[in-house]
């Protein structure tokens, strides 16, 4: 314990904002999301993100790892402004998506969130039919043409590897699906909006290994077309599916690099300790 405490203090020093986080690994990648000196407060007393700088590459899977409460989900939610819903919270610094500051005045949240889709930790299908769940996004965004919707629903379900399983019961309640199916339905629902970026907040943490495997397969297929940011608790998962990994600790970005580098030869001692399971 004592050791850990010391390590953490040391880490806090090394990851001080004055020392820029190395993004050399991203050479040649197109950057989609970029934060500069991002601070996030749940309230004045609760400082959740501290001067976070991060870059998310185009059509790659980027994983956020780190112990509970390190701020990785908070960071993720800054990308589609879901944190706005928390009363009393506020943010300093900048989040740029495709070069545009999404926190500036005049940003339409509906458009932002259509572009930046999100899959939550716990599957949260609406208490409606499978079809209505998938069609929800296009519908609220103004698409009423039935055949267009049908097409979107089918292609989204296919992309999420769910079509074969549910095509005969599109009108059944989404709540009757299994947990893994529900989560893939949530992915399909997000895909139906044709987003550029998909944020995934521990999408497989509540699922059994087989369902998790299916989700991971889906993610692997999706990265051909989408920029994916995934928060995960599961080291192996991050290792399996992500191209880049960011390690976070106590609200700070400790290390960012290719997944391979992070898992084989991390720059920071903290990262190594975490990866090897010495704490976390």
């Amino acid at each position: 314990m004592e050791m850990l405490q010391k390590d953490m203090e040391k880490m806090a020093e090394t990851a001080h904002p004055e020392i820029p986080v190395e993004f050399s690994a991203l050479a040649g990648e197109r950057i989609v999301i970029e934060t500069t000196e991002l601070d996030f407060y749940y309230s004045a007393e609760s400082h959740a993100l501290k001067k976070v700088n991060i870059r998310i590459p185009y059509r790659k899977v980027t994983a956020f790892i780190g112990p509970s409460g390190c701020g990785k989900s908070t960071l993720l939610r800054c990308f589609n402004r879901m944190n706005d819903l928390i009363p009393g919270s506020f943010l300093e610094g900048k989040v740029l998506i495709e070069g545009e500051d999404i926190y500036k005045n005049g940003i339409r949240l509906e458009e932002l969130r259509k572009k930046v889709g999100m899959v939550f930790q716990k599957s949260n299908p609406f208490p409606m039919s499978v079809w209505e769940n998938v069609a929800f996004g296009p519908r609220v965004n103004g698409i009423t043409n039935k055949s267009e919707l049908e097409e979107m629903v089918e292609s989204s379900l296919k992309q999420a590897d769910l079509w074969k399983e549910v095509k005969d019961r599109l009108q059944a309640s989404a709540l009757d699906l299994s947990g893994g199916q529900q989560q893939r339905l949530c992915i399909a629902r997000t895909l139906a909006n044709k987003p550029d970026i998909i944020l995934m907040d521990e999408p497989a943490s509540a699922l059994d290994p087989i369902s998790t495997g299916k989700i991971e397969e889906t993610i692997n297929e999706l990265k051909e077309e989408y920029t994916i940011v995934i928060v995960t608790h599961n080291m192996q998962q991050a290792g399996r599916i992500s191209d880049y990994t960011a390690f976070m600790m106590l609200g700070e970005m400790v290390e960012f690099d290719t997944t391979k580098k992070i898992f084989t030869n991390p720059r920071e001692k903290m990262t190594e300790d975490y990866i090897t399971g010495r704490f976390g």
């Binding site: 932002l112 969130r113 889709g117 609220v140 909006n193």
Partner: protein
Amino acid sequence: MLQTETKPKHYQKVIRADRWARRLITFGGYGIIASIVAILLFLAYQSLPLAKNAAIKTLFTFPASQGPSKALLTGIDPFQEIFYILDEAGHVQFYQTAGTKPLSEAQLPLSGNEKILAAAKGSLSSELFAAGTDSGRIITAEVRFQLDYSESGRAVIPSLSVKEIWKIPAAGKAASSNAASSDTLPDHVEKLAFSQNEDGSRFYAWVDHQGALWVRSYDAEEEVDYLHPLSQYLGESSVTALTISNHGENLVAAAANGIMRWFDLKDLEKAALRDEWSISNGPASALSYLLGDQAVAIGTAAGAVEVWFPVRTPSNLMKFRQIHSFRSHSAAVAQIYHSSRNRDFLTIDAEGAAQLHYSTTGKTEVQFPRPEFSIAAGAFAPKSDGILLVDAQKRFTLFRLDNPHPESTVKALFGKVWYEGYPGPEFVWQSTGGSDEFESKLSLIPLIFGTLKGTLYALLFSVPIALLAAIYVSQFAPFRLSRIVKPTVEIMAALPSVVIGFLAGLYFSPLFEQYLMSTFVFLILLPLIFLAGVAAWRAVPESYRMKIRPGFEVLFIIPVILIALQASASLGHPVENFLFRGNFQQWLYTTWGITYETRNSFVVGFALGFAVIPIIFTVSEDALSNVPKSLTSASLALGASRWQTVRRVVIPAASGGIFAAIMLGLGRAVGETMIVLMATGNTPIIDFNPFNGFRAMSACIAVEIPEAPVGGTLYRVLFLTALLLFVFTFVLNTLSSLVGERLRKKYARF
């Protein structure tokens, strides 16, 4: 067992406390269920006697035959201890119902062989009767039952006193001259009807041996007699039956050709024919005015029994109409007697069969066991709790009549009933009236309607406001605002309804009347100004709009409402002048025939809505707030706006709770008493007009239970109303639970 021994003492203590707590909670739970069932059972027990049919029980039969003379008239004292019979020889014999021999005897002053041909009772409150003889005399006498407490206990001492003896005018004197010349028989009274009113004025109607119909009105105040020959109205046909109403104001005479005639005797100095009609089931063989002096029970030679009473025609004339027909007799109806307490009447046919009917409900209540000899006379006990029948052999049978609530049949309580004096069958609630002869009109429909009307207007007002407020507070309002609004609305629920009722009835309703037009203008203007405000808001550049913190947009509504208020206050009068010729209420009345009452359904809807809003708000706000955040997040993350999220996700998911909230509000509005009592005129009318009042079931119970005699029909009907209310709210609550549960299952499996 071994385990318990090894358990530490502390653990045993915990188990014991647990057991006691469980017992207490179980007892509490079952106690609540038991008390609800007990209330239900008590209400049912109190109202159940309403459904009881009339029952008779033979109390006493007296078989002795006392002389050969035919019995004409009988009567009994209020305690049913002594009764008398008058026979054709003028004997008045008194009997004890418990004895076997005549108690005493009295004699009407008849001369020689003079015989009584017709006798009739003439008072509701005493045993006053008139007897017409074959020598043309009419003797008025009264049997009194005096109470004597001197000896061992109470004794009833009967006596007979003769009031008046007079002779009918000689035949032909007033009739046509040729009839007079051919007359050789002595004058005698063939048929007789008699009545004495509360002033002491007496009315006699008789038919003499020539078939001429006469009326004598004796004015007790002036001590003047008026004699009215009525034969000129009769035509050729002879009179078969006569009846005078209990207060002597009306005479109905039946002729052998089936023509009935109604004469007005109100003006003592003349008798006027008011209506003439014919009946179809053979000529009337017996007639009797019933209590209330409106309805006439008619028994025909063919055995039909009907009730007729005058109904106002469109040309403002009173015309007799047949209202009910009852179970027929197999022989001609010979006698009809009516109760002096209610609309019961007894018909006796020539073969001796007797039936008891209730006029208002059109129901034949009792068929009496057929005696061996035909019945010569019958009488209701003064309290209508017994019936005495005397057969031709002077054998008497006394029946106890158990018929406490003849007027409360299912049809009378829930159907249209044609009451005396009404133009047609109607739903009427009028439980008490000015006189003893008043008939309670106890239709529950106006009360049920009133409750529903009040509830409807209350919900029309409160449901939109409460639901919108709940949606706003739970989904849109900033935390700082909702933290204030929620407890405030909950305090609103704690406001005593008597205070709301008081304010509504005494302060708000006159204010509403004064600013009636402005209120309507406001209702139209507010949405318009609101829309204009929205348009103006949209015109503001987005960058400015985005600066408003979400949830605080509501502040912009305040000026909109203020503008609408000011505008409608100043526009009220001009609009009234322009559209309604300066007086909206007058216009309502002349154009639509709608009357405006100060305490009307609008005011009640507002006041009752005020009481209902907190319930609907609180429950639906809870339901909306309890929609999992994960759902709203999912919707928002898909690019739905806040309103889209609320409409497509939150409201469907909370629909079970919202439904339950509305049902609870409905239950509250249905059961609410003080507000509807104080803020309406409590007029039990069936009219959707929002400018009228109504009478709700709850208010009716509150108003009338203090004046309802315990055990009486009104008392029990009020209990029935309470039972209905109970069932109403019970069903509503159960329904809300069931439907709420189903909706929850459908939308909220998380």
